[in-house]
């Protein structure tokens, strides 16, 4: 999968690119409008991460250009603006998603995956991790080819874990992904634990392995290592 990252802040650009490379994406970088424009004109990408505020132009104009040329790339806007208006403008112009800074890399990964699945759901609608298969179209989970019944939150949580396998995810990051921003006002994140335990129990009931490891009681890691 080829990703073009358009972001004028080099530090952020490099960190995102390093992370996505580790996640087996091929990353190309553009730190200004001109470069991004050239790359978009010449090459094809599966995903374009687009910062709106660029030193020499507006990301929205790039978005319009991409849509005008009918390029197939999925577009995720990275913006410092959190207001609904900007979001709606971006999505109306044909962006697939809109992520507000600051964001978690694991969250970005989840969103990229969702956009990829949306654009290429022919055959790629199953996310698999060993004996666990998540069908993202029917929203069902199979363990050892047997379906387990999960709630929407449990489904979202497991998919998030699998997409971010081998990564340490803090409770805050999980809560933010599953619920909206208000959740970070919680005094504790015990309610995550409840959902987690349900998933563990359901997977084990079909003979699956518990891949969810607790890290110092502050985070979790989905891993078979």
């Amino acid at each position: 999968m080829k990703i073009l990252i358009v972001e004028d802040e080099t530090d952020l650009l490099i960190t995102i690119s390093n992370y996505l490379t580790k996640e087996n994406y091929i990353c190309e970088l553009a730190e200004n409008f001109q470069k991004a424009f050239e790359k978009i004109s010449i090459y094809e990408y599966d995903i374009i991460l687009l910062d709106i505020t660029l030193p020499d132009g507006n990301g929205i104009d790039l978005l319009k250009y991409i849509k005008k040329k009918n390029l197939k790339a999925g577009i995720i806007i990275l913006s410092a603006k959190s207001s609904l208006d900007d979001k709606i403008t971006g999505l109306d112009l044909g962006a697939d998603d809109y992520i507000t800074k600051p964001f978690q890399l694991s969250e970005l990964n989840s969103r990229i995956n969702a956009v990829l699945r949306k654009h290429h759901f022919d055959g790629s609608n199953v996310v698999q991790f060993n004996e666990i298969k998540v069908d993202t179209v029917s929203k069902t989970i199979k363990v050892n080819d047997e379906e387990i019944i999960v709630t929407k939150k449990e489904y979202d949580m497991l998919l998030y874990f699998i997409l971010n396998k081998n990564r340490v995810l803090t409770k805050e990051a999980i809560a933010e992904h599953l619920w909206n921003d208000n959740i970070d006002q919680a005094d504790n994140f015990d309610f995550i634990y409840t959902h987690l335990n349900n998933i563990r129990r359901k997977i084990k009931s079909k003979g699956g392995t518990d891949y969810i490891k607790t890290i110092y009681g502050m985070g979790y890691k989905f891993s078979d290592r």
Binding site: Y19, S106, T170
Partner: protein, 416 residues
């Protein structure tokens, strides 16, 4: 006091004083003139009497107007002219004012005392006959001129009042230049020009400032993103628990910083009325889904939520703001609640009431909505300030009531 009233009042006072002084002056001047006239007439009469005595040696006597007496030389009669009161024998015997002239004349070697009198009654009548119409005329002139001035004033100030209304309605938020009516009065037009220039300049400054704070807020999010992303990557390494703890703490603090920044930006945007609000929204329909969203928090504190629906509470507000409003109120009700506490939500046509149990605080109705009023360091005290600001800009009154429960009551401002 209105400019016109001051002018009118001064005008009236001045005119009244002037009228009184003028009438008194007119009265005395006239009186003096008439008395002079009477004196001259008496002197004329004296000449005729002297002539009469000289030529015909006839002493005319006609009481009370003419008295002529022969006197000896030694007799002293004062020469005088004065006003006297004399009983009129012809009339009903009442005393009447006369101007009396006494003189001694020597004619053909004899001395005569001549006393001439003239009745002043007709003069006084004449005086009144002149003074009263004159006064009335003056009064009429003043009243007319007062009315005309007032009408004129109204016309002149009309444009001014219009411009004043425009000024009152002027808001930087509309970012429209002020348009004042041309009054064709030099002074007013000069003020208009000054105001127009001033507001133009202020508008530019205001927009620059707004842009700056908005940009600053946005720009802060980028370095925060870098820190956040780097912290996340640090967690992926094999690190001891203490370091892990420190990084998680730093992440939480960073999140607070970012939220604070976002909320300040939001507050400014609400203040600037940058949210369009043409749709009527039924708050009750939002409450259910909001409670749903908060379920994990509500469950984690083992809270009991009761919603009473007695009507439809409608607000004219953008859905984004409704979301923020309910979010902040509910999160407040959850955050400051005691374990196994209660949340009561009462919705009626005129009111939305959100109450929660919880430890008592010292905050008053005013203080609780202030920015950065907080009970613990975990919050930054902007949530309720945002709620208040949203209410203020949407004609909703909000009140904090404290009894057994902490209640926030939203009600629509009437007549607006």
């Amino acid at each position: 006091m209105k400019f016109i009233s001051i002018i009118n009042r001064n005008y009236l006072i001045t005119i009244s004083v002037l009228l009184i002084i003028l009438s008194i002056a007119a009265f005395f001047t006239l009186k003096r003139t008439l008395t002079e006239e009477a004196k001259e007439e008496l002197l004329e009469n004296k000449k005729s009497i002297i002539n009469e005595i000289e030529s015909r040696n006839n002493l005319p006597n006609l009481y009370p107007t003419i008295e002529t007496v022969v006197i000896s030389k030694s007799e002293v009669v004062e020469k005088s002219i004065k006003k006297v009161m004399i009983k009129d024998v012809l009339d009903d015997g009442e005393e009447e004012p006369f101007l009396e002239y006494k003189s001694i004349e020597s004619i053909n070697g004899n001395y005569y005392a001549i006393t001439l009198r003239k009745s002043l009654i007709e003069y006084e009548e004449l005086l009144l006959a002149i003074t009263i119409p004159l006064l009335l005329l003056l009064l009429l002139t003043f009243i007319l001129s007062f009315l005309i001035t007032r009408r004129l004033n109204k016309k002149v100030w009309n444009d001014f009042e219009h411009n004043l209304a425009v000024l009152r309605q002027f808001s930087f938020r509309n970012s429209e230049e002020i348009k004042l009516k041309n009054t064709n009065i030099q002074e007013f037009d000069e003020i208009n020009k000054s105001i127009t220039d001033l507001t133009k300049k202020l508008l530019v400054d205001y927009q620059a400032l707004k842009k700056f704070s908005e940009n600053a807020s946005h720009e802060i999010q980028t370095p925060i993103s870098i820190i956040s992303v780097n912290l996340e990557e640090m967690l992926q390494h094999n690190i001891p628990e203490q370091t892990f703890q420190l990084i998680v703490n730093t992440q939480q603090t960073l999140k607070r910083l970012s939220d604070l920044n976002k909320n300040l930006l939001l507050l400014t945007k609400i203040e600037n009325r940058q949210f369009s609000s043409d749709e009527e929204i039924d708050i009750s329909s939002y409450i259910e889904s909001k409670i749903e969203e908060f379920t994990p928090l509500i469950k984690s504190k083992n809270l009991k939520v009761e919603v009473t629906n007695d009507g439809v509470f409608q607000v004219k507000m953008s859905s984004e703001l409704v979301d923020i409003l309910l979010n902040n109120l509910l999160s407040n009700a959850v955050k400051h609640n005691s374990i196994s506490g209660n949340i009561y939500i009462e919705i009626s046509k005129s009111e939305l009431k959100i109450c929660n149990s919880g430890a008592s605080n010292k905050l008053t109705n005013e203080a609780i909505f202030n920015r950065f009023t907080k009970e613990n360091s975990q919050s930054y005290g902007l949530g309720l300030a945002i709620v208040k600001q949203i209410c203020n800009t949407h004609n909703i009154a909000i009140q904090y009531r404290k009894s057994d429960f902490h209640c926030f009551v939203l009600s629509r401002c009437s007549g607006l």
